[in-house]
């Protein structure tokens, strides 16, 4: 690598110049059908007939939609067989969440690196998304599915960075694997930006709406910053809190405790409600994990970690 290229790459990373960083990177485009569906949903007045037409032409998405609406999550008395009926029952935000989940599974790269466990990445993402949805149901009612979608795409930059900028990003992940420190903290200390900001650039490239782009960029911020930006009434605080959940590769009790404390202090969610939340999340995870190609036991360590917080003495954990 020539010295000019090296200096140019150093400058791009040091500045967090994502446009330059991801310029030569082949970021897989969203599958065509998914992109068309998301584009229609993001319009000020989405056309349900048009949505139905696009979704019906895509067997994979149609099946996902119908199996979701007919699952025990919704406890419907009669079977739903039409895509339009499913869209009406689920609502556009839920349809968007399902389509995004389907599209992400295809578009997110799978770096061949010993530091990256693709299954663990999706297990973490899915649990955090479900927790964000549960928190949003209490903190920002009506926006649960926005929270789910945003959390689902919040860490999209991690595999992209590891695949395309591994000489810079691998040391960060190595560090993260060795110490109980938040990944975003290590990224900020080393380069002055974090994967949330990088991910927001990728989402913008994929033409996601600005709301989701902002939520992803904000998901690693401290809550006082979220308030300063005027995002306290959005699902951003739910994402910040859910983002504290430790990875199933490195479940840390302290992190769970921190998440529960923050939810209590800033979202007014009583710690007493958490066992029920964990149960709900676990049930939902068990219902949908197969859609992401995940094995059932992958997330067990995180659920065990969360349960331990309630089984152990608090002072013992802090020690």
């Amino acid at each position: 690598m020539s010295i000019i290229t090296k200096v140019s790459r150093h400058a791009a990373v040091a500045q967090g110049n994502f446009a330059k960083m991801f310029r030569g990177v082949k970021i897989a485009p969203l599958p065509e059908a998914a992109a068309a569906i998301l584009e229609e949903i993001h319009k000020p007045e989405p056309d349900i007939l048009c949505l139905e037409r696009i979704i019906s032409a895509e067997p994979e998405i149609s099946i996902r939609l119908l199996s979701n609406v007919n699952s025990s999550l919704h406890s419907l008395r009669s079977q739903v067989t039409s895509v339009r009926h499913a869209i009406t029952l689920l609502g556009l935000d839920r349809v968007r969440a399902l389509v995004t989940a389907s599209a992400m599974a295809t578009a997110v790269p799978k770096p061949k690196d010993s530091l990256f466990d693709h299954e663990a990445y999706w297990a973490d993402t899915l649990i955090r998304s479900l927790i964000a949805r549960e928190l949003a149901a209490r903190h920002a009612p009506g926006q649960q599915d926005v929270a789910f979608t945003a959390m689902l795409v919040a860490d999209v930059a991690i595999p992209v960075l590891l695949e395309s900028w591994s000489e810079y990003y691998r040391p960060v992940l190595e560090d993260w694997n060795q110490r109980p420190v938040r990944l975003a903290r290590l990224e900020q200390d080393r380069y002055g930006w974090d994967h949330g900001q990088a991910g927001s650039w990728i989402l913008k490239y994929w033409n996601f709406p600005e709301e989701l782009v902002c939520l992803v960029a904000a998901h690693n911020l401290p809550l006082h910053k979220v308030r300063e930006l005027g995002l306290e009434k959005t699902v951003a605080p739910s994402l910040v809190v859910a983002g504290l959940l430790p990875s199933c590769m490195n479940p840390i009790l302290h992190r769970c405790l921190e998440m529960i404390d923050l939810a209590a202090e800033d979202l007014g969610i009583s710690p007493g409600t958490w066992p029920e939340t964990i149960d709900t999340v676990r049930t939902q995870y068990d219902l949908i994990h197969a859609q992401f190609g995940l094995r059932r036991g992958k997330a067990d360590r995180v659920f065990q970690c969360m349960n331990q917080v309630f089984e152990n003495d608090r002072q013992q954990i802090c020690r």
Binding site: H10, A19, Q188, G192, S200, K225, D313
Partner: protein, 256 residues
């Protein structure tokens, strides 16, 4: 536990040096919320002055007619909206070249069509001259649109040619040389000082859409979410500590 010292980056010296120096680039300044407009203004003024100043100095030293009026608006566009399609080297170089040629072509056409038009002397403003100017403007505009190299200051170059001010091949070559020199300067200054992805030849539309006003986008068009996103991209080094000191050990609510 405070292990901030251990958390410092273990990067190589070159990265550290580049990181420090690139902190002064316009791109880095644009990431800092609040300094956007001022930084852009300061950058455009200093770089524009430096670029035109260098060409002026080159003109004085070489005694070549490198200075021509449309150069100033070209420099203005290059340093205020460097990532706009009109500022790409392709637009600047081809724009001025095609406009000058169309100006000359208009003079030739009018000279042939109106015998005794007397278009050799630039000080004479007569009917044929007016026709040549109008024709030059039309031809230059059409050519730039067809070749997709629109560069508004080049329209003035067509005017200069139609007015008889570009009268010999040396002037024509000098004009084109100064357009090339301006693009080379812009490339170096915008990339090194600005940290901006100024293209080598054609505009990069994919990249331009991330640069708003620098790519010619309007300032008032951004939505509330876009403004928040710009602020979010400027946020850094303000994450909560990870030492868990803030976890209150004395809390007794429902944990066991």
């Amino acid at each position: 536990m405070n292990d901030d010292q251990n958390m410092k980056p273990k990067s190589d010296w070159l990265f550290e040096l580049v990181a420090k120096l690139s902190g002064f680039q316009l791109h880095a300044r644009l990431r800092s919320a609040g300094s956007d407009k001022k930084s852009r203004l300061l950058f455009a003024i200093t770089m524009g002055v430096a670029a035109v100043g260098t060409i002026t100095a080159a003109a004085v030293i070489t005694d070549l007619p490198l200075l021509f009026p449309p150069l100033a608006p070209s420099a203005f566009i290059l340093f205020t909206t460097p990532l706009a399609p009109t500022a790409a080297p392709r637009s600047v170089i081809l724009g001025h070249l095609s406009a000058a040629l169309m100006g000359l072509l208009a003079v030739i056409i009018v000279s042939i069509a109106i015998p005794g038009a007397d278009l050799g002397d630039p000080t004479i403003m007569n009917g044929p001259r007016i026709i040549a100017i109008v024709l030059a403007m039309g031809l230059a505009t059409t050519t730039m649109l067809v070749l997709r190299c629109s560069h508004p200051p080049a329209a003035a170059t067509a005017l200069l040619a139609a007015m008889g001010l570009i009268h010999d091949p040396v002037v024509m070559a000098a004009l084109e040389a100064s357009a090339i020199l301006l693009c080379v300067e812009a490339y170096v200054l915008l990339r090194v000082v600005g940290g901006l992805p100024y293209p080598l030849w054609s505009p990069d539309h994919d990249m331009a859409r991330f640069y708003g006003t620098l790519a010619g986008g309007g300032e008032t068009k951004s939505s509330g979410w876009e403004r928040v996103h710009a602020e979010l991209l400027a946020q850094h080094e303000d994450l909560p500590s990870d030492d868990h000191d803030h976890i209150n050990e004395d809390r007794t609510e429902v944990y066991s």
